[in-house]
Amino acid sequence: MNPALDHGLWPWIAMILFGFLPSEFWRMLSIFLARGVNESSPLLVWVRAVATALLAGVVARLLLTPSGALAAIPLWGRLGAMGVGLGVFALTRKSVFIAVLCAEASLIAVGFYVG
């Protein structure tokens, strides 16, 4: 544990200063950037595609180089559970709920199998 965290308000100050502000900066900046952007402009269509690809990258990172308990599941288990979820999603005519349920069940089953 970091000894500095023992003192009164320091944990709050650390979280605000080094966690909240560096992250929130981008959201607040975006308010100005979004001003005057038309909802149907090609620029916005492009920005939306960039955001989607970026978030897909976040997902891929969670799947390929996970941290914590998810790292204990082998790669084939993580990708397999994802495949099961998407397969069920396609078969159930796009039911997010059933897809999540089946993917989770597969992943947890793999966890017990290898654990």
Binding site: F18, G19, P22, E24, T52, A69, G115
Partner: protein
């Protein structure tokens, strides 16, 4: 119709449970790093970004230098720029106040963004902002509770279930966005982002892989959609 309440009601159905469950782990990691329950819950309300929170607490636990922590958090949150720029114009009506825009920008996260992309377009313009704020408030409230639960219960959960919680974001995000996809560009951006990710991780400078990946994947999807549209016009 009270759109704030309607937004909160729709979040209660499922999205809130998913986002709340997926952040239980954050509470546990915060406790491992030596933070109190209050600060863990505070991080959910203030930072409101799962990846940034995980990064913050695990970096503190690893005794990373404070400026380095701030820089890596900031890099992980650059993704909010395209997300906010895409969503805020949808929320804005003639009389939208600056304060509600600030509140809405703060509430944007992976889950609320993906859900808003699906739920907002059919709503009348004036209803969108109160709906989104109600929806997000419910997600924030539920997730605050789950962060506290995670902080209190860490270590008592078996590993496969803990892994299952961390797996919620990937599967939920991909299926929500596929469901929201209306045009080829939507699912192409998703598939390209997933496909490029391993290469971006290997080749892009440390910490910059996501912005690079987003720009390349998003632009390719955009160009592909343009080509599809052009062919439709020719016929």
């Amino acid at each position: 119709m009270d759109w704030f309440r309607e937004g909160a009601r729709q979040a209660l159905g499922g999205p809130m449970l998913i986002v709340a469950a997926s952040l239980i782990g954050v509470g546990g990691i915060a406790r491992d790093a030596g933070f109190s329950l209050e600060v863990a819950v505070g991080s959910t309300i203030f930072i409101w970004a799962g990846p940034a929170q995980l990064l913050f607490f695990s970096a503190v636990a690893a005794k990373m230098a404070w400026p380095a922590i701030a820089v890596s958090i900031s890099l992980s949150s650059v993704r909010f720029v395209p997300m906010c720029v895409a969503l805020l114009p949808m929320l804005r009506a003639r009389r939208t106040s600056a304060l509600s825009l600030i509140a809405a920008a703060h509430c944007i996260s992976v889950t609320t963004w993906a859900e808003a992309m699906r739920r907002l377009p059919p709503l009348p313009r004036a209803a969108r902002m109160p709906f989104f704020l109600g929806f997000s408030a419910m997600c924030l409230a539920g997730t605050s509770v789950s962060t506290a639960v995670g902080h209190a219960l860490i270590g008592q959960m078996s590993r496969p279930f803990a892994a299952g919680l961390l797996f919620l974001t990937p599967i939920y995000f991909v299926s929500t966005l596929l469901r929201a996809a209306r045009q080829p560009i939507d699912w192409m951006a998703l598939v390209l982002g997933l496909a490029i990710a391993p290469f971006a991780q290997a080749w892009a400078p440390e910490g910059f892989d996501l912005p690079v990946l987003g720009a390349i994947g998003g632009t390719l999807a955009f160009v592909a959609q343009r080509l599809v549209d052009a062919r439709k016009v020719e016929r």
